[in-house]
Symmetry: C2
Amino acid sequence: MEGEPLSVLCTPALVVDLDKVKRNAQRMIERCQKLGVQLRPHMKTHKTLECADIMTGGSRRCIVVSTLAEASFYADHGFDDILYAYSLPFDKVERCAALSERLDLFQVLLDHPDSLEQLRKRPLKDGRQWHVWLKLDCGNGRAGVLHSEPEALQMAEAIAKTEGVELTGVYAHCGNTYNCRGEEQIQAVAQETTSLTLQFMEKLKTAGITCKSSIGSTPSCSHPVKDMTQLSEVHPGNYVFYDVQQSMIGSCSLEDVAVRVLTRVIGHCPHRNQLLIDCGWCGLSLDGAGKLPTGYAVIEGHPNLKLLSMTQEHGRVEPISGPLDYSKYPLGSLLTLIPYHSCATAAMHPVYHVHSEGRLLGKWTPTRGW
Amino acid sequence: MEGEPLSVLCTPALVVDLDKVKRNAQRMIERCQKLGVQLRPHMKTHKTLECADIMTGGSRRCIVVSTLAEASFYADHGFDDILYAYSLPFDKVERCAALSERLDLFQVLLDHPDSLEQLRKRPLKDGRQWHVWLKLDCGNGRAGVLHSEPEALQMAEAIAKTEGVELTGVYAHCGNTYNCRGEEQIQAVAQETTSLTLQFMEKLKTAGITCKSSIGSTPSCSHPVKDMTQLSEVHPGNYVFYDVQQSMIGSCSLEDVAVRVLTRVIGHCPHRNQLLIDCGWCGLSLDGAGKLPTGYAVIEGHPNLKLLSMTQEHGRVEPISGPLDYSKYPLGSLLTLIPYHSCATAAMHPVYHVHSEGRLLGKWTPTRGW
């Protein structure tokens, strides 16, 4: 279908605007170069080789992943310097060891003494070291040792002094930027996460320990603060696609969003003043419920339409006000959904259709599972 | 891993209890035999060959699917008498025609004159007929012509008299049973859908038209009413797995639910009185938000635990009351989630692990896409 217009696709279909992807990726590369900080892009949003190539500028080095399936997938395709930024799962220690023994630089993350004990019990072959990042919670409230607790420094020291294990870095995810609205709020959280991380790095230095530091989230890395120049790395991910959520936070404009779900009208329901479309939660995900005046997505070019509800393969669309003019939406006509959360929407699709200015270029196939 | 306990699985993992699946399937087969009505099981919940074999008693005949990808998948593996019960998508007419020309009995569904026009414009080869079901809305409020509108009878007549097209049946989905609580309410909706469908069949008969009739939904077919004996077919699907939602509706008991998501504790957060588990929305889906006192799922054997929130690969678990006793939940320990909605949860997994009494038997691989 190369060269064909998007309208040849069977729907629902996830389409990726390659020009926007490249522009978003290039902007982040330049932003990090300007900051003088290493960009370690996160793969979790797209999980494809092609997009990873774009995000790494073709180097296939220095990435972060959220699942071990992603780590193995990228390792199998020549990627290296991979950080598996997920609190070490005990059922996957052996698979992590195999990757550590095979790659130049496979890195794991932990936030609990029991995890360190797991590594100690599984020394790597050929005198190799486990490369370990300490996960620090700087206010995000998900994984990590809370920065203010004495256990944080104790954990870092324990990692650093354990035989066969190297403290490679300190890693903080500022997912709390997702509660922000606008650049000012984003930068306040970015500043706080950076300051707390740098204060922790100072404590480490005092204890005679040096290692890398990394913070990340798409909002903070889209609007970095000056102090981030003192970090070693940043690790945003969603920025390559962006989405409606990121535009509401203020990370990007709606024009920067590189993904869409194409859907077609499959039903007219005049007795309910509704349309049916062929995109349900199997094509969009349920993420974004109650977050938008237009329902579960933005329907491009139709600001008066709302994606009210979804079942597995159906979406109910109604006007925000007034009666629907059905002649504008004949059965079979295309509508374009801008996803609320591109990570969640991409996760629902076994293949992405890539285009430039509406002409198809090919397909990207993501990896799945754990 | 055959014969191994479930604990050898890497998590998150969707596990299917084969004994429960067989029991649920057998009960529905027997229920339909007793009613004297043809069972046409829906494949949308699991989308696997193995489960389709169980649901059809090995016949590989008489199934209903929600996507054309499912139709093709089953056709490629020797299934026939397939009903693609989805308002005819105009972008897929040619693929539907190919299946109609290849299978003994491939059936499509429509609810609009423009769809009939699509079929008329694409006559099938070798004198074959399009086999068409008319979708009737008997109060569910999704797809279909509303039973009370004159257009319903007009559509049926138009289908019946169109050259190259045969009116095979009338199809109603009583998804409105999902709002029920308890057998009495379920049966009231089942009765209403059945009555309205049978009244419509009478109108058809008066107009000189005979064809099949089918209603379905897991709640209504789990508690059928006597009048359903007058239908030709029923088409439930979720009953093979069931889920927490079905147990709340009253379709089944929680013991009948055949699927679980296994997850492990990956973090302790005493400062928030929370645990982290390695199952986020990528492993469970976001379906069920706000529907359960225990959050997004039921945590088996731990009635005081609540799956409070999820991000892509993390779940936050907290007690419903009191402080967490972390010694009960060491890092690496297994928890078992009973999904709110098995269709949504199964859709997140590239593979299902099948077991009998906790011993692994093998894997089932679902088809995906459209």
